[in-house]
Amino acid sequence: MQRYIKVGLLISALLSFSAMAEALKIEITQGVSSAQPIAIIPFSTTEVVDGLPVDIAQVVSDDLARSGRFKPLSRIDMLNKPSTAEQVNFRNWQALGQDNLVVGKVMADASGKLLVQFQLFDVYKGEQITGFSIPASRSNLRGVAHRISDLIYEKLTGQKGAFSTRMAYVTSMLGSNGKTEYKIQVADADGYGAKTIVSSTEPMMSPAWSPRGDKISYVSYEARRSSIYTQTLKTGQREKLRSFKGINGAPSWSPDGAQLALTLSKDGSADIYIYNVITRSFRRLTRSYAIDTEPDWSPDGRQIIFTSDRGGKPQIYRISVNGGQAARVTFEGSYNARASYSPDGKFITMVQRVKGQYRIATLELKTGFTTILTNGQLDESPSYAPNGSMILYSTNDGLKSILAAVSSDGKVRQKLRLRGGDVREPAWSPFKTK
């Protein structure tokens, strides 16, 4: 029996090590001084649940730090580590300059099922702000931790947390056989649990989430010509959309999940088409001799923005999903491309060329006011978090392409490093739907 336990321990140690190895390493490159101080005490465990594979308080702490809105207290600076309200001496935490405090514990019921309990306190009032008991299992503790982060974040900022979401992205890496391997992967928003959903020695690009977060559409050159596939994440089963001569690219789901906007060049130059998921029919939306591509739907599903060089240089245009005249949206700069809407529909984010450098910018639709958020040379593929707080994008780090994130006000920036290969084209998932 003793031996079994040892083996079990070893296996779980190996598992957590491999989980670490595949993780993205996150480094906050630019913080903000107005971040709220918060103390997240390590969760206590009862004897029965010792040796948990996840340090819940650490995951919560990392989540909140990544948002840029919070500055979690380092564990070394904690005077003691209370796990219940009775053990908390609020004056101590006031002296450490903390606004808020989180304590918690992990317990097991008679049948061995886990229960994670936490409380969030206002240190100055000495009052509980919120508290929850969440049923858990050893395999979903990271998920529970992200849920706790969401609850704390929403309580303290008034904005829904996006820590339980995921991201899809493309990787490419030169294999030992001299061939480049292209992959589309999906990982938790903090980079853990990366899984490859499809791979090929031919290019893969443009992953796009369905609005329910259960499917991803992407472009693959696996059959030499480009095709668009829609893959169900749970089963791994995929469907190839009818493909045409020329470009089959840039898929983007309508907010109701009934249609895809995409780019085809079957009738000449690249144009935007609308694909009906149910009838599997295509409708042409734009008709220009120029390049029209990179469509994205407004959150109300009535407008589509896209990149077009009909005016000579690529700029962002907007058109009704029913067609008609397209109106130019961007006027600043000689290169604006790959725009997408913020979740509230008030802004777009896009790639703007600034003195030969490609940067991530936002544009407020009402005022036309443009803000440059990043300072890289080849920043691209911006993707809003579903709560609008952050924008994921890809940037260059030496010779490699890596993912990075910037708060939508540009104040907080971070790099996400994945071991090996180039990582690009991040797409932030929608909120989880049940």
């Binding site: 292209y182 490859t196 499809v198 050159y221 390049i291």
Partner: protein
Amino acid sequence: MKRYQKLMMSLLLSSALAGCSMFGDEESTTSGINGTNDITDTSGGANTTGMSDESDFTGHPLDNPASPLATKVIYFAFDSSVVEPQYEAVLAAHGAYLASNAGVSIFVEGHADERGTREYNVALSERRAKTVQNLLSLQGASSNQTEVVALGEEKPVALGHDEASWHLNRRVELIYPAH
């Protein structure tokens, strides 16, 4: 024939290897179907001219280093889909070759450098490839002998982030799959 067997082998292998890790019981880890490696005899940027009929070359005309047919990659200026004068003879020769070999068909593969957004670059690279396709047609190549594939910046040949690499990546490749 041998080439065909090889292709079949790699197809079998790739289907044997298919099926890896996904969320659940997933379907396929697809592999390059058309084995593009058969067709990468790209002779860098070398522009050989001089068409001596008395060449001792006895191999396939597409491999004759003394013929413009040996050049199968055409490079472009930044943000341009204009074929530069030094490639006119190359495209004339390929167009004429296709015109006199009606059974031969090729891929005209457009590429872009890494600057700018990915799907826009796909469209830009298609514009380059279509310019080349049109020039081949002018020489008598029929439209069903040439197929444009636009790869944008997805298949760079040089990986640096500088003009030297970018120049090599802004290209159109003429690919004779059966050769």
